[in-house]
Symmetry: C2
């Protein structure tokens, strides 16, 4: 069996200083997640830091800063409209990363939707100006001859976005939208494994001619010494593993000059079945569906996917059966087929990583996966992996299940004694991107906020009154912040204009009122 | 000559876990800045991290979080009122740090005023609640059954405040006010050189009984391994040199868990005489007065003090003469005398540091100090230092004058060719706490914001219409943010409720509307 499409031979080029650079002898071969065949080459030896930074700072920055927030918002809208007409080709390409059509909807359509939301926020919540006021005027004097006003201004630097493999399009666009709106040019470094999809989307952006010259550059392959040349007016963002984030963070700290760094790391996200929910109710079903969706969408390769599932002990066995029943019904296989529910992991290496972490988890938890699931994968080539469900009876004494992330279709069910214990377990992840709770109890919801919100970037509540319109445990919305404390990286993205501010500098202006009118 | 007061023999104790710990054989002797005699001992070997962190997190945190923002604001107001009655003793003690009566007004009265402002902001700009909403509800669905709301909640950790020697009271209180308002307990680590003043003020806080048990602790002496025991829910703030900030920043980065760190480093702050200002006008006089005030207040030992002075070349000579004339008129000496305009540096070591940096500056700039100034100090003991004024004719090719900070009464005048060049020079500090401009020209002010705001935490404009009520180039106001990018540490303090948010976690709540009502 092999993927139902022609094998591409993608040349993943970089776009630096306004020029395309094809792969050379420094290139890496990229294999299809589905067939195992080489489908692309990415990377080259040409990565001249001065060339790249000058193009961004001397061409792109001044161009973008000469536009108002409304002008920039319009660019984002035009870009979103343009990309909307080219999603089919990107989806075709993405099959080779193991992504199904609905996986790519999240990545590609989700990325374009993010552009639309930022375009709209920029028009509605920012002024037709280049200076963004923050808060009201502060009366610093009795007679009012000396006052204060906070403003955000555009940093005369560049944003370096180091992205993860799992969302080759959304990952680029969700960071690019606030960056462009802030007036900052961007340098995008996609993860090599899926860089052929990012490059195809990036090429559309360049071909569209919508963004001013110098606004965007793409580095396929290694960044070499680029980060050593950054200054405090630049910004580095990173999405990926905690380990790599630590390496970058330390490399930026070598000088006295603090370079802003935002990390969004994977995390041990959890979901909680409220103590008020009975089995075999619509709410119970909603809970099961969210778990299954999070385990299988993108084959579990989402930073926000559910890794830990908490339920009252009396219900746990029943819950495991309900999850397994749904998982057993899914079709796993060729992502290009409409009948497929779950595709492949991005690479053999990724599958091996997930299996290695699963073995660690198995020291503390019993494998309770449905036997039927394993069978369905026996004859498939490519980086397929069946969903694995664990049951951990004593989550208090099993640190590994709260710390080790298997970045695939793997989750662990565990019991909680009471709500205080449940919140403690939620927080044992040491900082997560998201936790979700199915409940109808406003008091439980409020207690969850007080006890667990400080440990999470997002708290998601759901029940049968909201489920028809709920956006999903694992879907970051452009309106709401995405990121989390501690283990999740301590960073923040999205959240409408909140994200734009991360690329600008807040300054306190003080003086006579007539000089502070922007 | 010696200080006009009795010599104290201060025992600088720590307050840990609700107990006082007197100095032991691990103590450091502290000398008077004025007489050179030993006046205090600080530090001890007892610094049990578990004891300290448990007292903060298991006693102080829950106590504070059980109060609403309004309750906590009232505590700050009571504390401010209580401390207001005890400023005289603190001022007496501070003479030994070289601080004049008016220096201590900034430190002590300024610190208390900060408490009052935060008390008022907490009452007026925060709810009588424990959850702080951020922004409006976001409509995430058509029918409105699923919505979003951002909130800030109190972190269940502790704030560790590592403070600088120059503001022993303000430095403690300006950080304590937002910390308490956020619902977080604090551990305060004063700089040893002036820890006897901080301890005296801290003792008043404890004696007042106003703050709940566990809210505050004081570490006189070294913190030993305290920071190794911190978690992502804790916060570390630091005020001091760029070098020490770098050491702490790296020590917090050893694990995967990101611990928030806010640094406020000294910086190469600048002031600019607008091209529209003629010599011998009221505005010119205002400019000269600000320069002299910044050079001599606290003997120039302010993170915000003016280090670089920019003026049109045609006026520069005249400006140097005007500054020197004012400096020559000042009385430098015993800080306890009302007739004294400028006291001593905090220690001999500090004076030696300033002189060493001045020698570096002198390689690029001519010493143009008035000869009379040097004479007045010839016979004084203690850590006195006369103001030193430099003239740098070619600031474009003298990196050191934009990078090296002499943390004392030292500043360098330099010419600018046009406003673009002037803004470039302002920004050469690579990130500063504050830059000030004397001008009447709104267009110049706007250009300054666009070109220089990204490089500065604060931009301060002044002229004869505002000068009567202006708060001073070097005075951080509690209403306005304090901090700066790059060289200044990349941190942010103060700014009203903006500062409170730094001690809280922002979380995106999503769900059915009835579950998101706090």
């Amino acid at each position: 069996m092999h993927i139902n499409k022609a094998i591409p031979d993608a040349i993943v080029s970089s776009y630096l200083g306004g020029q395309w650079y094809a792969p050379d002898d420094g290139a890496t071969a990229i294999k299809s997640a589905v067939t195992g065949e080489v489908i692309a080459h990415a990377g080259h030896n040409a990565c001249d830091a001065d060339l790249i930074l000058n193009y961004a700072k001397k061409v792109g920055g001044p161009e973008l800063r000469s536009l108002t927030f409304h002008d920039r918002a319009k660019l984002l809208k035009h870009l979103a409209l343009y990309l909307s007409e080219h999603t089919a080709a990107l989806t075709e390409l993405a099959f080779h990363s193991g992504a199904t059509r609905s996986d790519s909807k999240i990545d590609i359509d989700g990325g374009i939707a993010t552009l639309f939301v930022f375009a709209s926020k920029g028009r509605r919540e920012m002024p037709d100006e280049t200076i963004f006021p923050d808060g009201d005027m502060e009366q610093l004097s009795r007679k009012g001859t000396f006052v204060g006003q906070h403003v955000y201004t555009s940093r005369p630097g560049v944003a370096v976005h180091i992205n993860a493999f799992n969302f080759p399009v959304w990952g680029m666009l969700e960071k690019l939208a606030p960056t462009i709106l802030s007036g900052m040019p961007a340098i995008i470094k996609p993860a090599t494994a899926t860089s052929y999809i990012t490059e195809a989307c990036f090429r559309l952006i360049v071909d569209s001619g919508i963004l001013p010259p110098g606004s965007v550059q793409l580095i396929a392959g290694r960044t070499h010494t680029l980060t050593d040349h950054l200054t405090p007016q630049d910004v580095v963002t990173f999405t990926g593993s905690a380990q790599t984030a630590g390496i970058i963070r330390n490399s930026l700290n070598v000088s006295d000059l603090t370079i802003p760094f935002t990390a969004e790391q994977d995390s041990l996200n959890a979901t909680l079945l409220g103590s008020d929910i009975e089995p075999d109710t619509v709410d119970f079903e909603i809970f099961v569906n969210e778990v299954v969706k999070e385990m299988t969408t993108k084959a579990g390769q989402k930073c926000t996917a559910i890794r830990r599932i908490m339920a009252p002990p009396a219900i746990s066995r029943h819950l495991i059966e309900a999850i397994n029943a749904k998982l057993a019904d899914l079709t796993i296989g060729d992502p290009s087929l409409d009948s497929t529910d779950m595709g492949a992991l991005v690479s053999d290496r990724q599958r091996n990583d997930v299996l290695a972490v699963s073995q660690q988890i198995e020291k503390h938890a019993a494998n309770v996966s449905h036997p039927k699931i394993t069978e369905t994968l026996r004859d498939l080539p490519g980086a397929y992996l069946c969903p694995i469900l664990y049951w951990c009876e004593d989550p208090d004494h099993a640190s590994d299940i709260h710390q080790l992330e298997a970045f695939g279709p793997v989750a662990t069910v565990m019991p909680y004694r009471n709500m205080t214990h449940a919140f403690e377990l939620l927080n044992r992840g040491q900082g997560s991107l998201v936790a979700s709770i199915v409940t109808h109890d406003p008091e439980l919801a409020r207690e969850a906020v007080l006890h667990s919100a400080p440990w999470h970037g997002r708290l998601y509540f759901n029940n049968h009154l909201s489920s028809a319109e709920a956006t999903g445990h694992g879907s970051p919305m452009p309106h709401m912040v995405h990121g989390g404390p501690g283990r999740a990286g301590g960073g923040e993205e999205l959240g409408g204009v909140r994200a734009v501010k991360h690329y600008m500098q807040r300054t306190a202006l003080q003086g006579p009122p007539d000089l502070l009118q922007p």
